[in-house]
Amino acid sequence: MTVSLTIENLSAHYGSTQVLKDLSLSVAAGELVSLLGSSGCGKTTTLRIVAGFLQPTSGHVRLGDRDLTTLAAHARDIGLVFQNYALFPHLTVMDNVSFGLKQRGVAKADRLVRAGAMLERVGLSALADRLPSALSGGQKQRVALARALVIEPPLLMFDEPLSNLDAKLRVDMRVEIRQLQKANGTTSLYVTHDQEEAFSISDRVAIMNAGRIMQLDTPEVLYQKPANAFVARFVGFENLIPLTVKARDGANVTAEAAGGASLNLSQDIFGAIPDRFMLAARADGLAVKAVAGKGIAATLGTRTYLGRAYQYQCSTAVGDLVANGTLSEPLEPGTAAVLEPVAEQCCILAPEA
Protein backbone atom coordinates (compact mmCIF):
# COMPACT_ATOMS: atom_id res chain seq x y z
CA MET A 1 0.00 0.00 0.00
CA THR A 2 1.64 3.23 -1.05
CA VAL A 3 0.04 6.53 -0.22
CA SER A 4 0.97 10.17 -0.54
CA LEU A 5 1.81 12.59 2.25
CA THR A 6 0.21 16.01 2.11
CA ILE A 7 1.21 18.87 4.37
CA GLU A 8 -1.15 21.83 4.12
CA ASN A 9 -0.50 25.38 5.33
CA LEU A 10 1.45 24.29 8.38
CA SER A 11 2.36 26.97 10.92
CA ALA A 12 4.17 26.32 14.19
CA HIS A 13 5.42 28.41 17.07
CA TYR A 14 7.90 27.93 19.89
CA GLY A 15 6.62 30.41 22.41
CA SER A 16 6.26 33.60 20.45
CA THR A 17 8.69 32.74 17.64
CA GLN A 18 7.14 31.37 14.53
CA VAL A 19 9.22 28.48 13.26
CA LEU A 20 7.01 27.35 10.38
CA LYS A 21 5.26 29.82 8.13
CA ASP A 22 2.33 28.44 6.16
CA LEU A 23 4.31 25.52 4.84
CA SER A 24 2.77 23.23 2.23
CA LEU A 25 4.36 20.18 0.70
CA SER A 26 3.27 16.96 -0.87
CA VAL A 27 5.20 13.75 -1.26
CA ALA A 28 3.83 11.45 -3.94
CA ALA A 29 3.28 7.76 -3.24
CA GLY A 30 6.63 5.97 -3.30
CA GLU A 31 8.59 9.17 -3.60
CA LEU A 32 11.50 10.26 -1.38
CA VAL A 33 11.53 13.97 -0.63
CA SER A 34 14.25 15.63 1.44
CA LEU A 35 13.93 18.71 3.59
CA LEU A 36 17.30 20.46 3.31
CA GLY A 37 18.44 23.47 5.26
CA SER A 38 20.69 24.74 8.02
CA SER A 39 19.76 24.31 11.68
CA GLY A 40 16.75 26.34 12.73
CA CYS A 41 15.18 26.38 9.25
CA GLY A 42 12.18 24.36 10.45
CA LYS A 43 12.94 21.03 8.80
CA THR A 44 13.03 19.04 12.03
CA THR A 45 9.96 20.87 13.32
CA THR A 46 8.10 19.78 10.20
CA LEU A 47 9.15 16.17 10.72
CA ARG A 48 8.18 16.23 14.39
CA ILE A 49 4.76 17.62 13.54
CA VAL A 50 4.20 14.88 10.99
CA ALA A 51 5.38 12.32 13.55
CA GLY A 52 2.94 13.72 16.12
CA PHE A 53 5.48 14.93 18.68
CA LEU A 54 4.59 18.58 18.13
CA GLN A 55 1.25 20.24 17.54
CA PRO A 56 1.08 22.78 14.72
CA THR A 57 -0.55 26.15 15.40
CA SER A 58 -2.54 25.66 12.21
CA GLY A 59 -2.56 23.49 9.14
CA HIS A 60 -3.10 19.83 8.34
CA VAL A 61 -1.11 16.68 7.80
CA ARG A 62 -2.68 13.98 5.65
CA LEU A 63 -1.45 10.52 4.81
CA GLY A 64 -3.46 9.17 1.89
CA ASP A 65 -7.01 10.06 2.92
CA ARG A 66 -6.29 9.92 6.68
CA ASP A 67 -6.02 13.26 8.50
CA LEU A 68 -3.22 12.80 11.05
CA THR A 69 -3.22 16.30 12.48
CA THR A 70 -4.80 15.51 15.84
CA LEU A 71 -3.95 11.82 16.00
CA ALA A 72 -1.69 10.65 18.87
CA ALA A 73 1.86 9.82 17.82
CA HIS A 74 1.52 6.12 18.63
CA ALA A 75 -1.54 5.79 16.39
CA ARG A 76 0.04 7.32 13.27
CA ASP A 77 1.80 4.25 11.90
CA ILE A 78 4.90 6.08 10.67
CA GLY A 79 8.35 4.51 10.58
CA LEU A 80 10.86 6.92 12.08
CA VAL A 81 14.66 6.73 11.95
CA PHE A 82 16.32 8.99 14.52
CA GLN A 83 19.57 10.90 14.38
CA ASN A 84 20.88 9.23 17.54
CA TYR A 85 19.32 5.91 16.54
CA ALA A 86 17.17 5.93 19.71
CA LEU A 87 17.51 2.19 20.14
CA PHE A 88 16.07 0.75 23.33
CA PRO A 89 19.22 0.19 25.38
CA HIS A 90 17.66 -2.54 27.51
CA LEU A 91 16.45 -4.67 24.58
CA THR A 92 18.44 -6.93 22.28
CA VAL A 93 18.70 -6.19 18.58
CA MET A 94 15.95 -8.73 17.91
CA ASP A 95 13.68 -7.25 20.58
CA ASN A 96 14.32 -3.75 19.29
CA VAL A 97 13.27 -4.76 15.79
CA SER A 98 10.21 -6.67 16.95
CA PHE A 99 9.08 -3.92 19.37
CA GLY A 100 6.70 -2.33 16.85
CA LEU A 101 5.23 -5.71 15.89
CA LYS A 102 4.61 -6.47 19.55
CA GLN A 103 2.66 -3.22 19.88
CA ARG A 104 0.56 -4.32 16.93
CA GLY A 105 -0.34 -7.55 18.67
CA VAL A 106 1.64 -9.77 16.30
CA ALA A 107 2.10 -13.25 17.80
CA LYS A 108 5.57 -14.03 19.12
CA ALA A 109 6.42 -16.73 16.55
CA ASP A 110 5.39 -14.44 13.70
CA ARG A 111 7.35 -11.55 15.25
CA LEU A 112 10.52 -13.61 15.30
CA VAL A 113 10.08 -14.61 11.67
CA ARG A 114 9.39 -11.10 10.41
CA ALA A 115 12.03 -9.37 12.52
CA GLY A 116 14.48 -12.11 11.63
CA ALA A 117 13.83 -11.61 7.92
CA MET A 118 14.30 -7.86 8.30
CA LEU A 119 17.60 -8.33 10.16
CA GLU A 120 18.68 -10.60 7.34
CA ARG A 121 17.95 -7.84 4.86
CA VAL A 122 20.12 -5.36 6.71
CA GLY A 123 22.80 -7.99 7.26
CA LEU A 124 22.62 -8.19 11.05
CA SER A 125 21.26 -11.69 11.65
CA ALA A 126 24.42 -12.66 13.49
CA LEU A 127 23.97 -9.86 16.02
CA ALA A 128 20.32 -10.53 16.92
CA ASP A 129 21.06 -11.28 20.56
CA ARG A 130 23.38 -8.34 21.18
CA LEU A 131 22.43 -5.27 23.17
CA PRO A 132 22.73 -1.92 21.36
CA SER A 133 25.71 -0.92 23.51
CA ALA A 134 27.71 -3.70 21.82
CA LEU A 135 27.11 -2.36 18.30
CA SER A 136 29.06 0.05 16.13
CA GLY A 137 27.47 3.24 14.84
CA GLY A 138 26.73 1.75 11.43
CA GLN A 139 25.20 -1.36 12.98
CA LYS A 140 23.04 0.74 15.27
CA GLN A 141 21.79 2.69 12.30
CA ARG A 142 20.92 -0.55 10.48
CA VAL A 143 18.96 -1.75 13.51
CA ALA A 144 17.12 1.57 13.63
CA LEU A 145 16.32 1.22 9.94
CA ALA A 146 15.16 -2.38 10.34
CA ARG A 147 13.03 -1.41 13.32
CA ALA A 148 11.28 1.30 11.31
CA LEU A 149 10.84 -0.85 8.20
CA VAL A 150 9.56 -4.04 9.80
CA ILE A 151 6.23 -2.48 10.73
CA GLU A 152 5.72 -1.84 6.99
CA PRO A 153 4.68 1.75 7.54
CA PRO A 154 2.97 3.68 4.76
CA LEU A 155 5.38 6.54 5.51
CA LEU A 156 9.04 6.46 6.49
CA MET A 157 10.76 9.48 7.98
CA PHE A 158 14.45 10.04 8.56
CA ASP A 159 15.81 12.70 10.94
CA GLU A 160 19.45 13.32 9.95
CA PRO A 161 20.01 9.59 10.13
CA LEU A 162 23.62 9.61 8.95
CA SER A 163 25.06 12.62 10.73
CA ASN A 164 26.74 10.53 13.44
CA LEU A 165 28.55 8.23 11.03
CA ASP A 166 31.96 8.69 9.46
CA ALA A 167 32.24 9.84 5.85
CA LYS A 168 32.74 6.45 4.19
CA LEU A 169 29.92 4.76 6.10
CA ARG A 170 27.66 7.70 5.38
CA VAL A 171 27.94 7.11 1.64
CA ASP A 172 27.39 3.34 1.99
CA MET A 173 24.39 3.80 4.26
CA ARG A 174 22.66 6.30 2.05
CA VAL A 175 22.90 3.92 -0.89
CA GLU A 176 21.49 1.20 1.33
CA ILE A 177 18.65 3.39 2.58
CA ARG A 178 17.77 4.38 -0.97
CA GLN A 179 17.76 0.76 -2.14
CA LEU A 180 15.52 -0.42 0.70
CA GLN A 181 13.18 2.53 0.22
CA LYS A 182 12.89 1.92 -3.52
CA ALA A 183 12.47 -1.82 -3.12
CA ASN A 184 9.58 -1.30 -0.68
CA GLY A 185 8.21 1.68 -2.56
CA THR A 186 7.64 3.45 0.76
CA THR A 187 6.75 7.13 0.67
CA SER A 188 9.56 8.89 2.54
CA LEU A 189 10.43 12.21 4.09
CA TYR A 190 14.13 12.75 4.76
CA VAL A 191 15.57 15.58 6.85
CA THR A 192 19.21 16.59 6.45
CA HIS A 193 21.54 19.57 6.43
CA ASP A 194 23.93 17.84 4.06
CA GLN A 195 23.41 18.96 0.46
CA GLU A 196 25.31 16.08 -1.12
CA GLU A 197 23.32 13.59 0.92
CA ALA A 198 19.99 15.18 0.04
CA PHE A 199 20.80 15.43 -3.67
CA SER A 200 22.09 11.88 -3.94
CA ILE A 201 19.24 10.17 -2.14
CA SER A 202 16.12 12.12 -3.11
CA ASP A 203 13.61 12.23 -5.92
CA ARG A 204 12.94 15.83 -4.97
CA VAL A 205 14.50 18.21 -2.45
CA ALA A 206 12.85 21.08 -0.59
CA ILE A 207 15.41 23.73 0.35
CA MET A 208 14.16 25.47 3.48
CA ASN A 209 14.95 28.75 5.16
CA ALA A 210 13.34 30.47 8.14
CA GLY A 211 10.27 28.25 8.23
CA ARG A 212 9.55 28.37 4.50
CA ILE A 213 10.32 26.19 1.51
CA MET A 214 12.47 28.31 -0.82
CA GLN A 215 12.34 25.86 -3.71
CA LEU A 216 11.10 22.30 -4.16
CA ASP A 217 12.43 20.48 -7.17
CA THR A 218 14.60 17.69 -8.49
CA PRO A 219 18.28 17.85 -7.51
CA GLU A 220 19.21 18.59 -11.16
CA VAL A 221 16.99 21.64 -11.42
CA LEU A 222 18.04 22.93 -8.01
CA TYR A 223 21.67 22.60 -8.90
CA GLN A 224 21.50 24.20 -12.32
CA LYS A 225 18.50 26.53 -12.19
CA PRO A 226 18.00 27.88 -8.68
CA ALA A 227 14.83 29.95 -8.47
CA ASN A 228 16.12 32.66 -6.17
CA ALA A 229 19.25 34.13 -4.61
CA PHE A 230 18.93 32.09 -1.41
CA VAL A 231 18.83 28.77 -3.24
CA ALA A 232 21.57 29.94 -5.63
CA ARG A 233 23.93 30.71 -2.74
CA PHE A 234 22.91 27.47 -1.02
CA VAL A 235 23.86 25.35 -4.01
CA GLY A 236 27.17 27.11 -4.43
CA PHE A 237 26.74 30.08 -6.76
CA GLU A 238 29.41 32.21 -5.06
CA ASN A 239 29.02 35.23 -7.35
CA LEU A 240 25.75 37.11 -7.61
CA ILE A 241 26.23 40.15 -9.82
CA PRO A 242 23.44 42.76 -10.06
CA LEU A 243 23.02 44.02 -13.63
CA THR A 244 20.83 46.51 -15.52
CA VAL A 245 19.88 46.10 -19.18
CA LYS A 246 21.23 48.97 -21.30
CA ALA A 247 20.37 47.76 -24.80
CA ARG A 248 18.44 44.96 -26.48
CA ASP A 249 19.13 43.66 -30.01
CA GLY A 250 16.88 40.72 -30.80
CA ALA A 251 17.93 37.92 -28.51
CA ASN A 252 21.10 39.72 -27.50
CA VAL A 253 21.11 41.90 -24.43
CA THR A 254 23.78 44.32 -23.26
CA ALA A 255 23.79 44.79 -19.52
CA GLU A 256 25.86 46.96 -17.25
CA ALA A 257 27.15 46.27 -13.77
CA ALA A 258 28.15 48.80 -11.11
CA GLY A 259 31.44 50.42 -12.09
CA GLY A 260 30.49 50.40 -15.75
CA ALA A 261 31.46 46.86 -16.76
CA SER A 262 29.33 45.81 -19.69
CA LEU A 263 28.29 42.21 -20.53
CA ASN A 264 26.67 40.66 -23.60
CA LEU A 265 24.12 37.95 -22.79
CA SER A 266 21.89 35.90 -25.12
CA GLN A 267 18.23 35.25 -24.34
CA ASP A 268 18.60 32.07 -26.39
CA ILE A 269 20.64 30.68 -23.53
CA PHE A 270 19.13 32.38 -20.45
CA GLY A 271 15.50 32.79 -21.53
CA ALA A 272 13.77 36.13 -21.11
CA ILE A 273 16.00 38.63 -19.27
CA PRO A 274 14.22 41.35 -17.23
CA ASP A 275 15.52 44.94 -17.17
CA ARG A 276 17.02 44.49 -13.73
CA PHE A 277 18.43 41.09 -12.76
CA MET A 278 21.28 39.20 -11.16
CA LEU A 279 23.76 36.99 -12.89
CA ALA A 280 24.59 33.97 -10.74
CA ALA A 281 27.88 32.21 -11.37
CA ARG A 282 30.02 29.66 -9.56
CA ALA A 283 33.78 30.21 -9.75
CA ASP A 284 33.69 27.87 -12.76
CA GLY A 285 31.25 30.22 -14.44
CA LEU A 286 33.61 33.22 -14.43
CA ALA A 287 36.70 32.77 -16.56
CA VAL A 288 39.79 34.81 -15.71
CA LYS A 289 41.35 36.33 -18.85
CA ALA A 290 44.66 38.17 -18.76
CA VAL A 291 43.98 39.97 -22.05
CA ALA A 292 41.62 42.92 -22.33
CA GLY A 293 38.12 41.96 -23.45
CA LYS A 294 34.44 42.27 -22.66
CA GLY A 295 33.80 41.47 -19.02
CA ILE A 296 34.34 42.70 -15.50
CA ALA A 297 37.67 44.38 -14.81
CA ALA A 298 39.34 42.80 -11.81
CA THR A 299 42.53 42.89 -9.78
CA LEU A 300 43.58 39.36 -8.90
CA GLY A 301 44.21 38.44 -5.30
CA THR A 302 45.14 35.14 -3.63
CA ARG A 303 45.53 32.18 -6.01
CA THR A 304 44.69 28.63 -4.94
CA TYR A 305 45.37 25.45 -6.86
CA LEU A 306 42.28 23.26 -7.33
CA GLY A 307 43.75 20.52 -9.49
CA ARG A 308 41.55 21.20 -12.50
CA ALA A 309 42.04 24.98 -12.43
CA TYR A 310 43.48 27.91 -10.48
CA GLN A 311 41.03 29.86 -8.41
CA TYR A 312 41.46 33.57 -7.74
CA GLN A 313 39.98 35.94 -5.20
CA CYS A 314 39.24 39.02 -7.31
CA SER A 315 38.43 42.59 -6.36
CA THR A 316 36.14 44.31 -8.81
CA ALA A 317 33.88 47.33 -8.94
CA VAL A 318 30.89 45.06 -8.14
CA GLY A 319 32.61 43.65 -5.09
CA ASP A 320 34.79 40.63 -4.33
CA LEU A 321 34.27 37.76 -6.75
CA VAL A 322 35.70 34.26 -7.08
CA ALA A 323 36.78 33.09 -10.53
CA ASN A 324 38.78 30.28 -12.12
CA GLY A 325 41.68 30.57 -14.58
CA THR A 326 43.39 27.98 -16.74
CA LEU A 327 46.27 25.85 -15.51
CA SER A 328 48.34 26.78 -18.55
CA GLU A 329 48.83 30.40 -17.52
CA PRO A 330 49.07 30.99 -13.76
CA LEU A 331 48.72 34.70 -12.94
CA GLU A 332 50.38 36.50 -10.05
CA PRO A 333 48.43 38.36 -7.38
CA GLY A 334 48.03 42.03 -8.31
CA THR A 335 47.65 41.32 -12.03
CA ALA A 336 44.87 43.26 -13.78
CA ALA A 337 42.50 40.86 -15.56
CA VAL A 338 39.01 40.55 -16.98
CA LEU A 339 36.33 38.13 -15.72
CA GLU A 340 34.19 36.68 -18.50
CA PRO A 341 30.92 34.85 -17.69
CA VAL A 342 30.70 31.33 -19.17
CA ALA A 343 27.08 31.47 -20.30
CA GLU A 344 26.29 27.75 -19.98
CA GLN A 345 27.39 27.74 -16.34
CA CYS A 346 25.46 30.84 -15.27
CA CYS A 347 21.85 31.62 -14.61
CA ILE A 348 19.62 34.64 -14.31
CA LEU A 349 17.78 35.55 -11.10
CA ALA A 350 15.34 38.27 -10.14
CA PRO A 351 17.12 41.05 -8.21
CA GLU A 352 17.03 40.79 -4.40
CA ALA A 353 14.56 43.10 -2.72
Partner: protein, 274 residues
Protein backbone atom coordinates in the same frame (compact mmCIF):
# COMPACT_ATOMS: atom_id res chain seq x y z
CA UNK B 1 57.80 13.44 41.09
CA UNK B 2 54.65 11.85 39.75
CA UNK B 3 55.11 8.84 41.93
CA UNK B 4 55.38 11.04 44.98
CA UNK B 5 52.43 13.16 43.87
CA UNK B 6 49.96 10.41 43.19
CA UNK B 7 50.52 8.62 46.48
CA UNK B 8 51.41 11.68 48.52
CA UNK B 9 48.22 13.51 47.63
CA UNK B 10 46.01 10.62 48.68
CA UNK B 11 48.04 9.85 51.79
CA UNK B 12 46.41 12.22 54.33
CA UNK B 13 42.90 11.08 53.42
CA UNK B 14 43.97 7.45 53.37
CA UNK B 15 45.53 7.70 56.81
CA UNK B 16 42.49 9.54 58.15
CA UNK B 17 40.07 6.87 56.93
CA UNK B 18 42.24 4.03 58.20
CA UNK B 19 43.01 5.53 61.61
CA UNK B 20 39.67 7.20 62.35
CA UNK B 21 37.23 4.84 60.66
CA UNK B 22 38.58 1.48 59.60
CA UNK B 23 40.63 0.63 62.69
CA UNK B 24 38.04 1.83 65.26
CA UNK B 25 35.19 -0.02 63.53
CA UNK B 26 37.25 -3.20 63.14
CA UNK B 27 38.27 -2.96 66.81
CA UNK B 28 34.62 -2.58 67.79
CA UNK B 29 33.73 -5.71 65.87
CA UNK B 30 36.82 -7.55 67.06
CA UNK B 31 36.00 -7.02 70.74
CA UNK B 32 32.76 -8.98 70.29
CA UNK B 33 34.78 -12.13 69.55
CA UNK B 34 37.11 -11.65 72.49
CA UNK B 35 34.76 -12.91 75.17
CA UNK B 36 35.50 -15.26 78.09
CA UNK B 37 32.44 -17.36 77.21
CA UNK B 38 33.64 -18.04 73.67
CA UNK B 39 34.04 -16.05 70.45
CA UNK B 40 30.37 -16.14 69.47
CA UNK B 41 28.82 -16.00 72.91
CA UNK B 42 27.59 -12.41 72.59
CA UNK B 43 25.89 -13.24 69.30
CA UNK B 44 24.30 -16.28 70.88
CA UNK B 45 23.08 -14.02 73.66
CA UNK B 46 21.72 -11.53 71.16
CA UNK B 47 19.84 -14.08 69.11
CA UNK B 48 18.58 -15.91 72.21
CA UNK B 49 17.01 -12.75 73.54
CA UNK B 50 13.48 -12.47 72.18
CA UNK B 51 13.56 -8.78 73.04
CA UNK B 52 16.63 -8.06 70.92
CA UNK B 53 15.65 -10.33 68.02
CA UNK B 54 12.34 -8.55 68.07
CA UNK B 55 14.18 -5.23 67.69
CA UNK B 56 16.18 -6.58 64.77
CA UNK B 57 13.11 -7.87 62.93
CA UNK B 58 11.25 -4.64 63.69
CA UNK B 59 14.14 -2.62 62.29
CA UNK B 60 14.27 -4.73 59.15
CA UNK B 61 10.48 -4.53 58.78
CA UNK B 62 10.39 -0.75 59.23
CA UNK B 63 13.29 -0.29 56.80
CA UNK B 64 11.59 -2.50 54.21
CA UNK B 65 8.21 -0.79 54.51
CA UNK B 66 9.85 2.66 54.44
CA UNK B 67 11.83 1.70 51.34
CA UNK B 68 8.79 0.32 49.54
CA UNK B 69 6.61 3.35 50.23
CA UNK B 70 9.42 5.76 49.37
CA UNK B 71 10.03 3.94 46.08
CA UNK B 72 6.40 4.26 45.00
CA UNK B 73 5.91 7.82 46.20
CA UNK B 74 9.34 8.98 45.01
CA UNK B 75 8.97 7.40 41.59
CA UNK B 76 5.56 8.94 41.08
CA UNK B 77 6.77 12.41 41.98
CA UNK B 78 10.02 12.05 40.04
CA UNK B 79 8.13 10.86 36.96
CA UNK B 80 5.92 13.93 37.02
CA UNK B 81 8.81 16.30 37.83
CA UNK B 82 10.87 14.93 34.96
CA UNK B 83 8.20 16.06 32.47
CA UNK B 84 7.59 19.46 34.01
CA UNK B 85 8.59 22.54 32.02
CA UNK B 86 11.80 24.26 33.17
CA UNK B 87 10.52 26.76 35.71
CA UNK B 88 8.04 24.50 37.42
CA UNK B 89 10.67 21.79 37.53
CA UNK B 90 13.14 24.05 39.38
CA UNK B 91 10.42 24.92 41.87
CA UNK B 92 9.57 21.27 42.42
CA UNK B 93 13.23 20.43 42.93
CA UNK B 94 13.62 23.27 45.43
CA UNK B 95 10.55 21.95 47.27
CA UNK B 96 12.14 18.51 47.43
CA UNK B 97 15.63 19.72 48.33
CA UNK B 98 14.51 22.01 51.12
CA UNK B 99 13.32 19.25 53.47
CA UNK B 100 16.45 17.29 52.58
CA UNK B 101 18.67 20.11 53.77
CA UNK B 102 16.64 20.54 56.94
CA UNK B 103 18.00 18.45 59.79
CA UNK B 104 16.75 15.05 60.85
CA UNK B 105 15.84 16.37 64.29
CA UNK B 106 13.73 19.19 62.92
CA UNK B 107 11.95 16.95 60.43
CA UNK B 108 11.21 14.25 62.99
CA UNK B 109 10.10 16.85 65.50
CA UNK B 110 7.43 18.05 63.05
CA UNK B 111 5.70 14.69 63.39
CA UNK B 112 5.62 15.05 67.16
CA UNK B 113 3.46 18.14 66.67
CA UNK B 114 1.31 16.43 64.07
CA UNK B 115 0.78 13.06 65.72
CA UNK B 116 0.96 14.04 69.42
CA UNK B 117 -1.87 13.87 71.95
CA UNK B 118 -2.56 17.56 71.37
CA UNK B 119 -1.42 17.28 67.77
CA UNK B 120 -3.15 18.40 64.64
CA UNK B 121 -4.54 15.01 63.71
CA UNK B 122 -6.08 14.45 67.12
CA UNK B 123 -7.38 18.01 67.25
CA UNK B 124 -9.01 17.59 63.88
CA UNK B 125 -10.53 14.19 64.65
CA UNK B 126 -11.89 15.22 68.05
CA UNK B 127 -13.01 18.57 66.67
CA UNK B 128 -14.98 16.81 63.96
CA UNK B 129 -16.44 14.46 66.56
CA UNK B 130 -15.05 11.38 64.85
CA UNK B 131 -13.35 10.27 68.03
CA UNK B 132 -14.06 11.23 71.63
CA UNK B 133 -10.61 10.65 73.14
CA UNK B 134 -7.32 11.58 71.44
CA UNK B 135 -5.57 8.59 69.85
CA UNK B 136 -2.07 7.52 70.92
CA UNK B 137 -0.32 7.67 67.61
CA UNK B 138 3.16 8.43 68.84
CA UNK B 139 5.56 5.68 69.87
CA UNK B 140 3.97 3.26 67.43
CA UNK B 141 5.55 1.54 64.48
CA UNK B 142 3.25 3.56 62.24
CA UNK B 143 4.52 6.90 63.55
CA UNK B 144 8.13 5.81 63.01
CA UNK B 145 7.35 4.71 59.45
CA UNK B 146 5.52 7.92 58.57
CA UNK B 147 8.42 10.03 59.82
CA UNK B 148 10.96 7.81 58.04
CA UNK B 149 9.09 8.02 54.75
CA UNK B 150 9.00 11.76 55.24
CA UNK B 151 12.73 11.70 55.83
CA UNK B 152 13.64 9.68 52.77
CA UNK B 153 11.12 10.58 50.04
CA UNK B 154 13.07 13.73 49.03
CA UNK B 155 16.23 11.66 48.59
CA UNK B 156 14.32 9.20 46.43
CA UNK B 157 12.77 12.02 44.37
CA UNK B 158 16.14 13.60 43.64
CA UNK B 159 17.79 10.30 42.77
CA UNK B 160 14.97 9.20 40.47
CA UNK B 161 14.44 12.59 38.83
CA UNK B 162 18.07 12.47 37.72
CA UNK B 163 17.61 8.95 36.38
CA UNK B 164 14.36 9.70 34.54
CA UNK B 165 15.75 12.89 33.03
CA UNK B 166 18.64 10.81 31.76
CA UNK B 167 16.32 8.68 29.62
CA UNK B 168 16.68 10.20 26.15
CA UNK B 169 13.54 11.77 24.72
CA UNK B 170 14.34 10.03 21.44
CA UNK B 171 13.92 6.60 22.91
CA UNK B 172 10.48 7.43 24.25
CA UNK B 173 9.48 8.99 20.95
CA UNK B 174 10.81 5.94 19.12
CA UNK B 175 8.56 3.81 21.28
CA UNK B 176 5.44 5.79 20.46
CA UNK B 177 6.39 6.09 16.78
CA UNK B 178 6.44 2.29 16.74
CA UNK B 179 2.88 2.26 17.98
CA UNK B 180 3.33 1.79 21.74
CA UNK B 181 0.50 3.33 23.74
CA UNK B 182 1.57 5.51 26.70
CA UNK B 183 1.06 2.68 29.21
CA UNK B 184 3.07 0.29 27.02
CA UNK B 185 5.86 2.86 26.68
CA UNK B 186 5.90 3.27 30.44
CA UNK B 187 6.00 -0.46 31.20
CA UNK B 188 8.25 -1.61 28.37
CA UNK B 189 10.65 1.30 28.02
CA UNK B 190 10.68 3.81 30.90
CA UNK B 191 10.36 1.40 33.82
CA UNK B 192 13.09 -1.03 32.67
CA UNK B 193 15.42 1.89 32.00
CA UNK B 194 14.77 3.28 35.49
CA UNK B 195 15.57 0.02 37.29
CA UNK B 196 19.22 0.85 38.11
CA UNK B 197 18.09 4.16 39.60
CA UNK B 198 15.35 2.46 41.58
CA UNK B 199 17.92 0.08 43.04
CA UNK B 200 20.28 2.93 43.97
CA UNK B 201 17.39 4.75 45.63
CA UNK B 202 16.29 1.61 47.45
CA UNK B 203 19.81 1.01 48.80
CA UNK B 204 20.08 4.60 50.04
CA UNK B 205 16.71 4.50 51.79
CA UNK B 206 17.07 1.00 53.18
CA UNK B 207 20.50 1.53 54.72
CA UNK B 208 19.48 5.00 55.89
CA UNK B 209 16.36 3.82 57.66
CA UNK B 210 17.94 0.59 58.90
CA UNK B 211 20.69 2.52 60.69
CA UNK B 212 18.74 5.61 61.74
CA UNK B 213 18.88 6.87 65.28
CA UNK B 214 17.18 10.24 65.80
CA UNK B 215 13.82 9.39 64.26
CA UNK B 216 13.16 6.16 66.18
CA UNK B 217 14.46 7.89 69.30
CA UNK B 218 11.92 10.70 68.95
CA UNK B 219 8.93 8.88 67.48
CA UNK B 220 9.48 5.33 68.65
CA UNK B 221 10.87 5.90 72.10
CA UNK B 222 11.51 2.94 74.39
CA UNK B 223 8.54 1.08 73.05
CA UNK B 224 9.55 0.94 69.39
CA UNK B 225 13.25 0.52 69.78
CA UNK B 226 15.28 -0.02 66.62
CA UNK B 227 18.86 -1.19 66.15
CA UNK B 228 20.19 2.38 66.28
CA UNK B 229 18.43 3.25 69.50
CA UNK B 230 19.33 -0.13 70.98
CA UNK B 231 23.01 0.49 70.21
CA UNK B 232 22.85 3.89 71.89
CA UNK B 233 20.99 2.56 74.89
CA UNK B 234 23.46 -0.32 75.42
CA UNK B 235 26.44 1.98 75.03
CA UNK B 236 25.39 5.12 76.89
CA UNK B 237 22.62 4.10 79.27
CA UNK B 238 23.51 0.61 80.47
CA UNK B 239 27.22 0.89 79.55
CA UNK B 240 27.15 -2.62 78.14
CA UNK B 241 29.84 -1.98 75.56
CA UNK B 242 30.16 -5.53 74.43
CA UNK B 243 26.40 -5.66 73.85
CA UNK B 244 26.58 -2.37 71.97
CA UNK B 245 29.48 -3.63 69.88
CA UNK B 246 27.50 -6.75 69.03
CA UNK B 247 24.61 -4.62 67.79
CA UNK B 248 27.12 -2.53 65.83
CA UNK B 249 28.65 -5.61 64.23
CA UNK B 250 25.24 -6.96 63.20
CA UNK B 251 24.34 -3.58 61.69
CA UNK B 252 27.59 -3.43 59.72
CA UNK B 253 27.21 -6.96 58.38
CA UNK B 254 23.59 -6.45 57.30
CA UNK B 255 24.33 -3.06 55.73
CA UNK B 256 27.28 -4.37 53.75
CA UNK B 257 25.32 -7.45 52.69
CA UNK B 258 22.41 -5.32 51.45
CA UNK B 259 24.71 -2.97 49.54
CA UNK B 260 26.63 -5.88 48.02
CA UNK B 261 23.51 -7.80 46.95
CA UNK B 262 21.78 -4.73 45.56
CA UNK B 263 24.77 -3.43 43.63
CA UNK B 264 25.28 -6.85 42.10
CA UNK B 265 21.59 -6.83 41.14
CA UNK B 266 21.96 -3.32 39.74
CA UNK B 267 24.87 -4.45 37.61
CA UNK B 268 22.94 -7.44 36.30
CA UNK B 269 19.83 -5.43 35.53
CA UNK B 270 21.68 -2.47 34.10
CA UNK B 271 20.56 -2.33 30.48
CA UNK B 272 23.54 -0.24 29.46
CA UNK B 273 26.02 -2.89 30.60
CA UNK B 274 27.70 -4.80 27.79
Amino acid sequence: MNKFAKWGLTLPATIAVIVLLLVPVILTIATTFDEPKGPFSTYAAFFNSGFRVNILTRTLRIALITTSISLVVGFLAAYVIAQMPGRLKSLAIIAAVFPLLTGVVVRSFAWLIILGKNGIVNDALTGLGIIAEPLSMLYTEGSVIVAMVYLFVPLMILTLTGVLEGIPRDVIEASSSLGAKPVATFLQVILPLAVPGLIVGAVLVFTGSFTSYATPQLLGGERQMMMGTLLYQRAMVTFDWVGASTVAAIMVVITIAIVAIMSRMARRLNPMAV
